[in-house]
């Protein structure tokens, strides 16, 4: 029997008001509604969340770790983007 696999969904939970949704894992489901139900059963059995997102795994586009330097290294030399790069006279106090 050739059986087709159920699609994969990534699960994100907002654990408290004011926090962003955070990735927790994945579930298999035939559609969005079932993905939400499965995510609830698998990832929130003990009040872990106030809100759930499910996203088809195939819809996520990720940066390639091999391009890590190309992507993120240029910012390392731009120290003038940080507040501590600038001197404020002691007399002025905290700014």
């Amino acid at each position: 029997m050739t059986e087709k696999n159920w699609p994969l969904w990534e699960v994100f939970i907002r654990s408290r008001t004011g926090l962003a949704h955070r990735h927790v894992g994945s579930v298999h489901a035939v559609d969005a509604e079932m993905a939400l139900q499965n995510a609830r059963d698998v990832y929130t059995r003990r009040g872990e969340g106030l809100s759930l997102w499910v996203v088809p795994s195939s819809a996520i586009v990720a940066s390639d770790p091999a391009d890590k330097d190309l992507m993120f290294e240029p910012t390392a030399s731009k120290i003038y983007r940080h507040p501590t790069f600038y001197d404020v006279p002691d007399e002025v106090g905290h700014m």
């Binding site: 059986e3 087709k4 894992g25 994945s26 579930v27 698998v42 091999a66």
Partner: protein, 334 residues
């Protein structure tokens, strides 16, 4: 998980590149986490798939011996707790299959390999649950041993596995405590018959539980590499010793006797020493000849086969609904 295609890119070519290998090992040595799309040696990936899959299978097969007692739990409270526990085990299996899938395998393939006998599950689940005390013992000892094994895995070098283990360990703590509470009830508050039932359960489970930690260090084939890759943090014998040291006082509180006449406290080392483990029994059970191997595999096979039509129907239904929604949207647009 996501973008699994990246995992496969140039793997054969990269495997030959020892520079990649050295960089990988230095990241592991620096306690950096390895993530799904990072380069990793092929053998590291295979080891993880084998270990995580075996772990996931164990959670799922582990539902069977306990599920056996759900309808016969002695009170509503015990029944609710046991149901929640068995549901947790199913959840743990789901987290772990999800972690394994980040390595570029599918859950369906892993399940198939279990059913074909190509992958294993923990030998402990091949023993029967003959009395209610066995449910106490499983929580107290089997889950206790699992926690001992699993806490170091929370620091495993592979990110998705480590994160799954953190969730699992939190939940296992409930499992162990509910098991020990059953034991306390039987042993300290129970009738002599109930205490005898608890002792009988300990007699049957103690040695198989010690075998859960795997072969002795001198016979373990996977330890060296797994330690270097920081998949494993302690050797089998170290973990077994930690478990025994933690467990003996708990058994003494219950007033139970461990079925090991050679067991004694070494005042110099502070450790409890145990007698010789019967490794021939371990090998027999792992090879498929334990008391319940055939029954467990049959139950898993039946569940998979009997559920096939549900999985197919759910997919067909979702496709039909999607087609209808698309048709309705088309008509509305016209």
């Amino acid at each position: 998980m996501y973008t699994q295609a990246l995992n496969i890119k140039d793997m054969a070519a990269a495997a030959e590149d020892s520079a990649f290998d050295a960089r990988f090992q230095s990241r592991v040595d620096a306690e950096e986490k390895i993530e799904p799309n990072d380069w990793m040696p092929d053998a590291y990936r295979r080891t993880l798939v084998r270990q995580i899959a075996q772990h996931a299978h164990s959670e799922i097969v582990g539902m069977l011996p306990e599920g056996n007692w759900i309808t016969r739990a002695p009170s509503l409270k015990r029944k609710a707790a046991l149901l929640a526990k068995v549901q947790d085990e199913g959840g743990h299996g789901a987290y772990l299959y999800a972690a394994a899938e980040t390595l570029g395998v599918s859950r369906e393939d892993l399940v198939e390999q279990l059913l074909d006998g190509k992958q294993k599950y923990s030998s402990i689940f091949n023993y029967p649950t003959l009395s209610w005390a066995d449910i106490g013992i499983i929580g107290w000892l089997v889950d206790g041993a699992a926690i001992m094994n699993q806490i170091p895995l929370c620091r495993c070098s592979y990110g998705p596995y480590a994160r799954a283990m953190i969730r699992i360990c939190k939940e296992e703590s409930f499992h162990q405590r509910q098991g020990y509470e059953i034991m306390v009830t039987l042993c300290r508050d129970g009738t002599p018959e109930q205490k005898a039932m608890a002792q009988d359960a300990l007699n049957r489970w103690w040695w198989p539980v010690l075998m859960m930690f795997g072969p002795s260090d001198k016979d373990s084939q996977h330890t060296d590499k797994s330690m270097r890759w920081k998949i494993k943090r302690f050797t089998n014998d170290d973990l077994r010793q930690k478990f025994i040291d933690a467990t003996v006082p708990q058994g003494q509180y219950l007033g139970l006797t461990f079925p090991d006449p050679a067991m004694k406290h070494n005042d110099r080392t502070g450790h409890w020493e145990h007698g010789e483990i019967d490794w021939s029994e371990f090998k027999r059970v792992v090879a498929g000849d334990g008391p319940c191997n055939r029954q467990r595999m049959k139950q898993r096979r039946d569940a998979n086969e009997n559920g096939a039509w549900v999985r197919e129907a759910a997919l067909a239904f979702a496709q039909k609904r999607r087609a209808r929604a698309e048709a309705a949207a088309r008509i509305a647009a016209e």
